[in-house]
Symmetry: C2
Subunit: 215 residues, 2 copies
């Protein structure tokens, strides 16, 4: 199909598609005339994936690029691809301005992981990201420690196991396997977060919805 | 204290503090000389809150403003403030370009909420946000329906109840109550998401870490 049809099928504007092509996020189409290229099902699928990562996952283009590069590199294992996707997700939140306050919080995060019995490599960006959030909470006066963190860990443990288990090991192509991991990691985070907000509204309605003088 | 000391105490640069003052996110200090204002503990606390919402919560300034306005408006109840915070969080993810595909997904979200027995008002932005994510997943070929959504709902139900229960009803000031809700909603989302990534690494290591031909 032509770029205009690619646009019609996905709702992504032609200039945006051309931008992705120029940036190498979307591979070039097969040339069939001087000024005309042909795009196939793989382009359509890749374009939908890019938009999902940007629109729903909130990833920056540089992080989208890192994930796409990993998808296309046959030497990257499924386990490593998951790590690269996690780094891309965490990078979007990391403004790098919490340099030292996280020391005590880091120890609590490490203790939490040990108490849960989880295998997480020492240098994981997620360990640092969690310590930064805990440190921020503590600087705002919250008493957040190992007990609270373990509570969150237990809540997501079974879900994460199920999510990883849905990776189709017998899928026809490596691309399908890794797209599954990328999309699942990014989009089910939104499912989880939004479900939590819905649950909060429910419990808030139970506790606070009656008209109150509210000080 | 002076603006330079406010900067030293928080790590926020003086130009950024002046920007927040000009934008009305941070209230003006008490004037004590022609070109000098005095800031107190309330400014320090508000500044830390703004940075937490922006840096860790990933909120845009317009959404930070909406939350701060609600904090300062004595007529906003705790339940309504939670709703405003949820809207601000959801707004950051909503690029508004999933107009109609969400019809079937919306019905599944509504059924899920009914099955869980949750009280969530009909027009909640979170209902629409969840339907958009589900619709995106389905367009990418995932079979996500009520059963899967209920699984996520059950995982966060107890956590959300605990989170809402931590709101200190007997706190000295309304500001403390509402800051607790805002910060808790925003920052514990990061705790939850990062915990899930850590759990995924653990389960991925169990399943995929052995060297494989990856193809």
């Amino acid at each position: 199909v032509r770029v205009s049809e690619l646009s019609a099928a996905t709702g992504v504007t032609v200039p945006t598609i051309k931008f992705y092509l120029r940036e190498g996020l979307l591979p070039a189409g097969r040339t069939r005339a001087a000024n005309q290229a042909d795009y196939d099902e793989a382009h359509l699928r890749r374009l939908r994936l890019i938009r999902a990562l940007v629109d729903v996952g909130g990833m920056r283009l540089r992080d989208v690029r890192a994930v796409l590069t990993a998808i296309d590199d046959e030497r990257v294992t499924v386990h490593d691809l998951l790590g690269i996707t996690q780094d891309a997700l965490v990078a979007g939140d990391d403004r790098g301005d919490a340099p030292d306050a996280a020391g005590a919080a880091q120890a609590e995060v490490d203790q939490t992981i040990a108490r849960l019995g989880w295998q997480v490599h020492e240098g994981a960006a997620t360990r640092r990201a969690l310590a930064e959030v805990v440190s921020t909470l503590q600087s705002l006066g919250w008493s957040v420690g190992v007990d609270e963190l373990v509570r969150y860990g237990r809540a997501v443990d079974e879900l994460a196991d199920w999510e990883v288990a849905t990776v189709p090991e017998s899928a026809a192509s490596r691309t399908e396997i890794v797209e599954h991991v990328v999309v699942g990691t990014v989009l089910f985070e939104r499912v989880l977060d939004t479900m939590r907000l819905l649950a909060q509204e429910h419990h808030s309605a139970r506790r606070f919805a009656a008209p109150d003088g509210s000080n």
